[in-house]
């Protein structure tokens, strides 16, 4: 299980990554992240919505109400151009961090 601080830092990357494929509503975002990370990252309502609103306020996401399924309205989030622009450097940063940690772990074992 990944620690809380790392989770917090990676949360933005997780949300941006799952929204790269297309717009999703809050519950579906949480479910996709949980599924794609095989349960390592799990959002609850209290951790997801402040993050989504913050990202929306920063202009990385745009939300709009839309009807899904049998006339249920959900607020769906999609990536904005700014969000897409943010995703690439975020990915790079996290890849670098994990590579560095990997090297550190290997050095420790050697």
């Amino acid at each position: 299980m990944i620690g809380a601080n790392i989770k917090r830092g990676s949360a933005e990357l997780a949300v941006l990554s799952v929204l790269e494929a297309g717009p999703l509503h809050g519950y579906e975002i949480a479910r996709r992240i949980e599924r794609n990370t095989r349960g390592a990252l799990r959002f609850t309502l209290a951790s997801l919505y402040p993050l989504l609103y913050r990202m929306e306020a920063r202009g990385w996401l745009k939300a709009a109400w839309s009807e899904i399924g049998d006339a249920r309205a959900r607020r769906c989030y999609r990536l904005t151009a700014a969000g897409r622009k943010k995703l690439a450097p975020l990915r790079k940063e996290w890849n670098e961090l994990f590579r560095a940690l990997g090297r550190l772990a290997e050095a420790h074992h050697a």
Binding site: D70, R72, A73
Partner: protein
């Protein structure tokens, strides 16, 4: 997408609205957020079979309790949502925080300080006293033109302004080049003004580049660019050196 099952339904909208009642959110925001959170909780309940819960009454209660636990997990949910919604008003984008705000503030501070020192007539009489006994006459003339009209008091503050701008930009998480640009920002404006002045003198007004004019420009560049630039750099460099040292250690 979870399959809709009406027998799992619960009035989450009203419950979410109650949960947010004490927050500073406006009525319209509370209404919209409650609606959104209710949708999430509704989906969480209808998706319960995917998590191994069946249609039995006990499992429906368990699913509802699990959803309620998420709603009530954070005592400060309303406050957190309120802050998150207003982040844009408080947290501007990175470039604004790292570059524009500190640059403009440093520039205005620099201009304000110069004006403050000029208005009460704090001219640098004492700082030029050495010219009366020091260097040979022609050097005294040049130095007088440079120092005698430059506000030394203002120059003394420039390293602090450079340091403040660099520190501000660094705190906002900027790269070193941006930190240096913020620290040297007042200078960049002087350079721009100087280039504009040159362009205006030589290109637009057609003033011939006489020796006297060129000397005047050289003195002006010393007074308004090179010396203030060095003063600002004095404040900027320690921060950039610290970052280099940190990187070496890392």
């Amino acid at each position: 997408m979870p399959e809709r099952r009406d027998n799992w339904r619960h009035d989450w909208r009203e419950e979410a609205a109650r949960k947010l009642a004490d927050s500073k959110l406006s009525a319209a925001e509370r209404e919209e957020i409650s609606r959104e959170l209710a949708g999430y909780l509704d989906d969480l309940c209808t998706d319960a079979p995917a998590r191994g819960l069946d249609d039995s009454a006990a499992d429906q209660i368990a699913a509802t309790q699990s959803a309620a636990a998420e709603l009530y997990e954070d005592k400060h949910l309303g406050a957190n949502l309120y802050r998150a919604r207003r982040e844009n008003a408080m947290n501007l984008n990175d470039r604004t925080k790292q570059l524009w705000f500190p640059s403009i503030a440093m520039l205005l501070a620099s201009i304000a300080l110069l004006a403050i020192f000029q208005v009460p007539g704090l001219h640098p009489y004492y700082s030029t006293l050495f010219l009366h006994v020091g260097p040979p006459l022609h050097w005294r003339a040049i130095l007088w033109r440079v120092y005698g009209r430059t506000n030394i008091f203002w120059l003394c503050f420039l390293p602090f302004l450079g340091a403040a701008g660099t520190y501000w930009s660094r705190r906002a998480g900027s790269a070193r080049a941006m930190q240096a640009a913020v620290g040297l920002c007042p200078l960049l404006v002087f350079v721009a003004m100087f280039v504009a002045m040159l362009h205006s003198s030589f290109a637009l007004d057609g003033v011939p580049p006489t020796n006297k004019l060129l000397t005047g420009l050289a003195v002006a560049s010393l007074r308004w660019m090179i010396i203030p630039g060095a003063a600002l750099l004095l404040g900027v460099l320690p921060f950039l050196r610290t970052r280099s040292a940190e990187r070496r250690i890392a």
